[in-house]
């Protein structure tokens, strides 16, 4: 009788743990919605939300973090409003990668670069991202080719016309939204508006 009770309790504990794990997995995988991230991003690319701090001159990662949260990514003690992982591009990349929340899907530069941070030349304005990646890919920029990310943006449209033909030219391609400088639906590689494009490396991480 006693033995049966112990077995039943043990089964209950295991079932509860399994259910919890499944719920946690489902929350992290199914809850993220790229469309919601894009909607928020489009709404606040040029008009920063008053609900959040605005880091004048350095708001890129803060903005991307807001978009990810709008998409359903849950905060925690490491990645929470105004934390380093929230507002710093390199820390955000490390947080997403190290916690298995995102996976690197590509690395590019103007004409390709050698190791240790190898990148491939972008041939046109396409990063070869798909419609299913919209709102799910964070693009990181390493301005100084030293492996440390300096800037972040959210991928919001694939193979579409830029909204800023002055900055990009009359072209189509993969588009991003970003803060600092605040831009909406512009070409992801910033090629035309970057005076040191040859020294810039770009990385894309897809939310898992």
């Amino acid at each position: 009788m006693m033995k049966r009770k112990i077995v039943a309790r043990s089964f209950l504990v295991r079932a509860t743990a399994l259910a919890g794990a499944v719920a946690l997995f489902a929350t992290s995988i199914l809850a993220y919605n790229g469309s919601n991230a894009v909607s928020y991003s489009d709404r606040h690319a040029l008009n920063p939300s008053y609900l959040y701090s605005y880091y004048d001159g350095a708001d890129c990662a803060n903005f991307v973090s807001q978009c990810l949260m709008a998409g359903g990514m849950t905060t925690n003690s490491t990645w929470t409003m105004n934390s380093t992982a929230w507002i710093n591009a390199d820390a955000l990349k490390n947080y997403l990668r190290d916690n298995n929340l995102a996976t690197k899907i590509g690395s590019w530069s103007k004409n390709g670069t050698p190791e240790p941070y190898k990148t491939y030349a972008y041939i046109d304005n396409s990063a070869n991202m798909t419609a299913s990646d919209v709102g799910r890919v964070v693009v990181f920029y390493d301005w100084e080719s030293d492996g440390i990310m300096n800037h972040a943006a959210l991928f919001v449209a694939n193979n579409s016309a830029t909204w800023d033909s002055t900055a990009d030219g009359n072209v189509t391609g993969d588009l991003i939204n970003q803060h600092t400088k605040n831009r909406k639906r512009v070409i992801w590689n910033a090629d035309k508006r970057n005076d040191r494009a040859l020294y810039t490396r770009i990385y894309a991480f897809r939310i898992n």
Binding site: G57, D146, N150, G169, K181, K192, L198, Y199
Partner: protein, 255 residues
């Protein structure tokens, strides 16, 4: 006699104190002199110029392919000399810039035109400089405005002009080596950018400049000529005054 000894001791002590105070003041004044500040700024501007000229080469055809191996090596050596002049050997940019420039000039740019017509710095304002008390290292913060104007071949066989100017916020660490300031750390972020046509209006010359930049040219020489006509110094509509008080004194501290 004893009183004389005490008096003498007091005098010596006072003299030491006066020497220490005035000497220290002179020293700090020397460290924070305008000359040092100007040299630090010149080193940062020089280092930034080296970054902006990465991948640059001289070729009448616009193609690096038409240069001999010897000519390419000469151009690589010239670039390396610039890196040596402005960066310390342990700086991450020292290795990166040399390796990447060699990578571009020895192969990655083969078969295509990526020709820098002009590049450089339009303005720089250091808001603060902090020296160590031995005056051999310094850390500076500020803003720098640079540009690069280049001709690029397109897949369809035409040639485009890409001209961009960027205002950056910067942090730099420098070391004084054999009397020369060199950059050992340099990080920056983009604050504002300009391309020909930004803020253009019908009454502005920028409309014609924007047209130049939007045109695809059939030959390199034609594009080169048009790019040469863009005066970024005169046309660029972003200025340091937009983000920082350029008249304010640079805050100089010695630690």
């Amino acid at each position: 006699m004893k009183r004389f000894g005490v008096l003498l001791g007091a005098l010596v002590l006072a003299a030491c104190c006066i020497w220490a105070i005035t000497g220290s003041t002179d020293y700090e004044t020397a460290v924070a002199s305008g000359e040092n500040n100007a040299d630090v700024e010149a080193a940062i501007v020089g280092a930034d110029n080296v970054i902006l000229s990465l991948g640059g080469y001289a070729s009448e055809s616009g193609l690096i392919d038409t240069l001999s191996d010897e000519e390419i090596q000469t151009q690589i050596a010239a670039y390396n000399a610039q890196v040596d002049a402005y960066f310390t050997e342990d700086c991450v940019h020292y290795t990166n810039l040399k390796e990447m420039n060699q990578y571009y000039l020895e192969g990655a740019l083969t078969g295509k035109v990526y020709y820098i017509v002009s590049s450089g710095n339009l303005d720089c304002k250091l808001t603060s400089i902090r020296y160590t008390d031995d005056a051999t290292t310094a850390e500076a913060n500020g803003y720098i405005l640079g540009y690069a104007n280049h001709v690029e071949s397109e897949d369809d066989g035409g040639f485009d002009i890409n001209c961009a100017s960027n205002l950056l916020s910067l942090t730099a660490k420098l070391e004084k080596i054999d009397g020369t300031w060199k950059v050992c750390e340099y990080t920056y972020d983009y604050v504002e950018d300009w391309v020909p046509g930004d803020n253009a209006n019908a009454a502005s010359d920028q409309v014609s400049i924007a047209n130049i930049a939007d045109t695809t040219y059939s030959s390199f020489q034609e594009a080169y000529q048009a790019a040469s006509e863009i005066s970024v110094e005169e046309e660029c509509t972003i200025h340091l005054e937009d983000v920082v008080d350029t008249d304010a004194e640079t805050i100089v501290t010695v630690e």
